[in-house]
């Protein structure tokens, strides 16, 4: 086993690669949710970060007040967050579909402010700890790999692939894609398009909630966790191509790894590498890596 790689300790390299893959998993899950919502509803869901934060807080609250463990939260919290999303869609977002898309962006931005403000009002800006559900790890001779982190990578990859499969390879997915292309025509086939839009929003938001639960044991559960993440995820979405499912998964994991490696080799650029990557992508391919020319 080599001691160093390109002048950095091998253990540090593997460690940051792992961190990069974990962050990449969150980027992928978050941008996937945004891509599904954008592809179907043509709405940029600015509340996505706040809904991710909500997912983490629901998991924390379920454990703190009801004693419900992580694994149940992983199932329940996305459902609860998705239900909140569906409520938002039914009562407010739906009224804006016929207008310029920026109004939906502004509405969800307002919703994000309300959510973040409320949680800061209740919990302040400090984080709440959430116990790691799988302790221990894989002790190899070059690095220590915590089980939970490996689980996060595996779980996020699995959920991403399942979502991709559902949308691109199943009958339900084909309805969804058809409704994006031509809602009127799909309606004449007797498919309830408004309900599909509602469920799509619920699914996208649920993915944000799922990411939040998975993030809870790694990062602290803090009201600020969503707004810190959402802008990076926006850059990821632009790089992958707006509304592209494959693009969001590839760009999510790819940028997570690039960011992790930047931390090893050029630490001072770690915060901005995703944005630099976005600028380069825009200069070369204005529609993103997997974007259509829409």
């Amino acid at each position: 086993m080599p001691e160093t790689l390109f002048g950095v300790p091998f253990a540090a390299f593997v460690g940051q690669l792992l961190v990069g893959l974990i962050n990449g998993g969150f980027y992928a899950l978050m941008s996937l949710g945004l891509a599904i919502i954008f592809g179907m509803l043509h709405v940029v869901n600015f509340a996505h970060g706040a809904q991710y934060m909500l997912g983490a807080f629901v998991a924390w609250g379920l454990l703190e007040y009801a004693g419900i463990n992580y694994w149940w939260s992983l199932l329940l919290a996305p459902l609860i967050v998705g239900a909140v999303g569906i409520f938002l869609e039914r009562t407010m977002l739906r009224r804006l579909y016929h207008l310029d898309h920026v109004y939906a962006l502004l509405l969800t931005y307002g919703f994000a402010l309300i959510l973040e403000g409320s949680f800061r009002f209740k919990f302040g800006a400090t984080g709440q700890p959430y116990a790691n559900p799988i302790s221990g790890g894989l002790d190899t001779d070059f690095a220590f790999l915590p089980w939970y982190r490996l689980w996060v990578i595996a779980a996020s990859l699995t959920v991403c692939l399942l979502t991709w499969f559902t949308i691109e390879r199943t009958k339900l997915g084909s309805y969804l894609r058809a409704a994006t292309e031509n809602p009127q025509l799909v309606r004449t086939f007797g498919i309830n398009v408004p309900r599909m839009l509602m469920l799509t929003y619920g699914l996208g938001v649920g993915l944000a909630g799922f990411s939040g639960v998975m993030a809870a044991p790694i990062y602290q559960v803090s009201p600020l966790m969503g707004s810190n993440l959402i802008i990076v995820v926006f850059a990821v979405v632009v790089i992958g191509g707006m509304g592209s499912i494959v693009g969001s998964i590839v760009a999510g994991f790819g940028l997570g790894v690039i960011e992790g490696l930047t931390k090893v080799f050029f630490p001072e650029f770690a915060g901005i590498v995703v944005f630099l990557a976005m600028l380069i992508t825009l200069a070369v391919r204005p529609n993103g890596l997997f974007g259509s020319t829409a």
């Binding site: 940029v44 931005y109 009002f121 944005f275």
Partner: protein, 319 residues
């Protein structure tokens, strides 16, 4: 679209005279510092409105121009001992340069993608400001001297500074008005309303958009530079995305596509900020609620709704 078309020229003169009186009398009626903050943010919202209202491109990153100009002005005046006019001018130049370079990439995409790209660019600028040695990180650049304007006016006096700021902001709004009502501005509105047609008429729309974006950035920079003169400080808040969001809130509360909208919006939002300055969380919630209400119930904003009301009155036949 503009109130100009709805109100007769005599009414315009009366309105302008009333506005001038209000500006002159304001520092005796309200705190000069409050009034100056209001003016700076009104200009920021006005510069954003030039982009959102008249070009139809929603920039979610105007804080990067506001903030980088604030840092540039503060740096020039503290480290290089430049006077206020040169310092603010330097800030405006930096903001215009930043606007031209980010605009080059951002205007290649329209609609929602434009918003997300400007937001991401602004976040890049935020990180640079956070890490660069000259910005002072979390502390910002503090105790910026106000100096003497052209060696004549001592700006350390709040009243003098107020009238200087008011003059600059009124001049900037006059400039925006001139842009919008020029042939150039008419092309911008044509691009907003029907881009393919503008292209088919032979206009190079990207050049128009880029120039508009650069001008808008420079004006936002002017607002940032003036803000440094007022508060003598440039901080990370100036470049943060919440500032971009607040500028947008002022625009839509007052009414996009109107000249006075950003001013009215700034009055509402800055008043809200000042009365809740001790409760950051409540302010966030209130701002969110205002966003939701405006978007759902009165999308034309305060000035836009008043204009619509006047227009409806006009249409009704006299009894």
């Amino acid at each position: 679209m503009t109130h100009h078309a709805l109100i007769s020229s005599r009414q315009t003169v009366v309105l302008l005279a009333l506005g001038a009186c209000a500006l002159l009398a304001a520092p005796w009626l309200a705190y000069p510092a409050f009034m100056m903050k209001l003016l700076c943010f009104a200009l920021l919202a006005g510069s954003l409105n030039l982009m959102v209202g008249y070009v139809g491109l929603l920039s979610f990153g105007h804080a990067m121009f506001f903030g980088s100009a604030a840092y540039a002005t503060a740096h020039a005046m503290t480290t290089w001992n430049w006077g206020p006019a040169l310092g603010v001018g330097f800030g405006v130049a930096i903001a215009a340069l930043l606007g031209a370079s980010t605009g080059l990439l951002a205007i290649r995409r329209a609609g929602i993608a434009f918003s997300m790209i400007t937001l991401a660019c602004a976040q890049l600028v935020y990180f640079v400001a956070l890490r660069s040695p000259f910005t002072g990180g979390e502390d910002g650049i503090q105790n910026v001297p106000r100096g003497d304007l052209f060696g004549l006016l001592d700006l350390s006096d709040d009243m003098t500074l107020y009238y200087v700021i008011a003059t600059a902001v009124v001049a900037a709004f006059w400039f925006i008005w001139r842009i919008v009502h020029s042939p150039f501005g008419q092309v911008l509105v044509a691009i907003r309303d029907n881009e393919p047609r503008a292209i088919s008429l032979g206009y190079r729309v990207n050049r128009y958009k880029l120039l508009a974006f650069t001008l808008s950035a420079a004006l936002a920079g002017l607002a940032g530079g003036l803000k440094v003169l007022v508060f003598q400080i440039a901080t990370l808040t100036d470049v943060s995305w919440t500032t971009s969001g607040e500028a947008l809130l002022m625009g839509i509360v007052g009414g996009l596509q109107t000249m006075l909208g950003p001013v009215v919006g700034a009055i509402v939002v800055v008043t809200m900020q000042n009365s809740l300055s001790a409760f950051a969380e409540s302010l966030l919630i209130l701002q969110g609620v205002v966003f939701v209400l405006v978007v759902l119930l009165f999308r034309r904003g305060i000035v836009g709704e008043i204009n619509a009301l006047v227009a409806r009155r006009r249409q009704r036949p006299a009894p």
